[in-house]
Amino acid sequence: MNTGDISFMLVATALVMLMTPGLALFYGGMVRSKNVLSTMLQSFACLGIVTIIWVLYGYSLAFGPDMGGLIGGLDWAGLNGVGLTAGPYSATIPHLLFVAFQLMFAIITPALITGTFAERVKFPAFLLFTILWCTLVYLPVCHWVWGGGWISKHGGLDFAGGTVIHINSGAAALVAALVFGKRKGWGKENFHPHNLGMTMLGAGLLWFGWFGFNAGSALAANEIATNAFFTTHVATAAALLSWLVAEWVIQGKPTTLGAASGAIAGLVAITPGAGFVNTTGAMIIGLVAGTLCYLAVLLKGKLGYDDALDVVGVHGVGGLWGALATGLFATTLVNPNGKDGLFYGNPHLFTVQAMDAFTTIGYSMVATLIILKVVDAIVGLRVTTEDEVQGLDLTEHNEIGYSL
């Protein structure tokens, strides 16, 4: 036990928790005002649902004693035997603190997905989907990467969850966008974000919280945490500028939402490599991420699937780039427990990163599709067109966002 590490991890855990309300704001500002509450509620509800799942069986399935590389055992169900002494994943902090930290990751992942089906999902469908997806997709993938499962044995690197969180949610979001179909009026009506100040605030809180996410993934207040902190910031700044410049060049104006989106793209892209790459690597990762995710979002417009808040373009594409980039820029000069990437003479890492990413995409897409079909059969996915027109705040929750 080390009080400095405990101190840091307690705060890092709180920071990651704050990301989910931050996401609620980030997403809430982008929908039309008639859907602001339903959108925000879905993030908050994830805080509720996933926490209970985590205590009951989630932590155990994700991090419990490995069963064939695929899933953890139920030995720690109900957090049985998980106490205040150090656990197997970290020697200097209480096991329960590791549980808390990891929980916050499990919460935000399904919350990210809600951006794709925003403005048309039934609340019960969201609930059921979240429970099933968390159980059948998040927990196994988390186990594979961090819980001693097959991916971790491979030697893939995922410092803070590029694969587990972003690629995973992005892949699920793509399937969901296709299954849900377009919002009424898509491509015809103007879907202006209703409150971009709220979105900027959300982006600010996400950036702030992400320091806990990435630096906290060192599980200690040490040099690696410092490196992750700084690379996170640099990549984010670079991606912010990159998106801004890209849209300035292509569409003629730099936008506020572009800056916020670029920042998130940078945060996503640096996540897997934060503790493995140096400042230069981080800057390149960010610069590419900003432009790449912008192009991905433009492409969506062309392809015509309605991923309402661009989970695919930002988290899917940004996460994939980040995973691959880790295979390029990782260096043991930064982190002796890491690996060297392609640019440091080890092309193998790149291949492993790609394989892990695409396997996760494949699994996530198939599993998500099945889950959505089941949810549709049980409670129905989409509200009626009439309710969609009136707005989900009123029809699903009997509330309205603003009475100014």
């Binding site: 009026g185 015809k188 009506e189 027109v389 009123l394 009997n398 509330e399």
Partner: protein
Amino acid sequence: MKKIEAIIKPFKLDDVKEALNAIGIKGMTISEVKGYGRQKGHKEIYRGAEYVVDFIPKVKLEIIVESSQVNAVVDTIRQAANTGKIGDGKIFVLPVEEVIRVRTGETGTEAI
């Protein structure tokens, strides 16, 4: 000249605007209003307190047209704004005595 006021459902605005455009109406003024009528309002719940809200968001169109166009415009709005459900709204026709364009000072038909 006449003034046509139409109270319609907000989500029908684009359709109505396009339909009017198609018959050559290129100017109008709209505003957000709230309507009270046969259409039932909605219920809101905040910490258990239930409030019934009778006033329903509507859009009001105000269009000045030559008298000869009144019928065409009314019919066009009627069709474009119609959903067949209660609350589709109403159209009122009022007399107008004079119209002036601020920029040029033109009056009458010229000013529309």
